[in-house]
């Protein structure tokens, strides 16, 4: 397998479609022949980050770089940024408003979940400019 690059746009304020990109990426990884545990780890982490893009930022773009050894996914948005990353990473910390909780999100578990299911996770954020999350899952 050569390097495969995939790109997805994530729409803002389209809650119904949130998760569409993660689902497509999951199916592509399946077609490329990765094992189900690796695929699931990527899918869950990217889904959490995609949902965050929709509910906390104004949508964004997702780029996946896939090699036989490693799946790298870069999720970039132009949302408000994260003022305190350490705080945001805490289980249970959420700024989600009541209407987002009613949709089943805002438990404050998304970023901790991304950390849990990936081998590497990096958050690059600038207040008022946006947030880029880079995650890596090794193929094992």
């Amino acid at each position: 397998m050569e390097e495969v690059r995939l790109h997805y746009d994530v729409n803002a304020y389209d809650f119904t479609c949130a998760g569409e990109a993660s689902g497509k990426l999951k199916r592509s990884l399946k077609n490329l022949g990765f094992n189900s545990a690796v695929i699931r780890n990527v899918a869950i982490a990217v889904y959490e980050a995609e949902i965050n893009m929709v509910i906390h930022a104004e949508g964004g773009v997702i780029d996946a770089i896939i090699t036989p050894d490693c799946i790298t996914v870069i999720l970039a948005d132009h949302g408000p940024g994260i003022p305190d990353i350490e705080l945001a990473m805490k289980e249970g910390y959420s700024t989600a408003p009541e209407n987002v909780r009613a949709l089943g999100f805002g438990a404050g578990m998304g970023l901790p979940n991304i950390k849990k299911y990936t081998d590497e996770m990096n958050i690059d954020t600038v207040i008022g400019v946006g947030t880029t999350i880079t995650l890596k899952v090794y193929n094992k």
Binding site: F15, T16, A18, G19, S22, G23, K26, S36, R40, A43, I44, Y47, E48, I51, R101, L103, G104, F105, G106, A107, G108, M109, G110, P112, N113, K116
Partner: protein, 116 residues
């Protein structure tokens, strides 16, 4: 436990997945918060939830969950059913509330992620 047994125990109704009555589930989780569900992977699990929106199906998709039970008599709309159909995820509804649904499945031997 099979999908068929779940339907019987919960006095439920299959909304999608008549073809998968023999599908086996070994674990269960119940929550209305999707990130709580996403925190714990369980092989061949059933998801019980009071939440009814497309993200329930998408959460199940990411987790490889093959059966969803909507509790408290809630019904998914066609958009949700179509999404589940494309992913071959069984949808069941029951009038029982969350606590009772979980309790019944537990007393029939189904367990959560920790196995307790």
């Amino acid at each position: 436990m099979t999908v068929k047994e779940i339907v019987e125990i919960l006095e439920g109704k299959i909304i999608y997945g008549e073809d998968y009555l023999d599908r086996e589930v070994y674990k269960a989780c119940g929550s209305d918060m999707m990130s709580d569900v996403l925190a714990f992977v369980k092989e061949q699990a059933v998801l019980l939830t009071g939440l009814v929106n497309p993200q329930v199906v998408r959460t199940a998709e990411m987790m490889d969950i093959q059966c969803i039970v909507f509790v408290r008599g809630k019904s998914p709309d066609m958009g949700i059913i179509d999404l589940a159909e494309e992913r071959e995820i069984v949808l069941i509804k029951t009038d029982l509330e969350m606590f009772t649904s979980c309790g019944r499945l537990y007393s029939h031997g189904l367990r959560g992620g920790s196995g307790e």
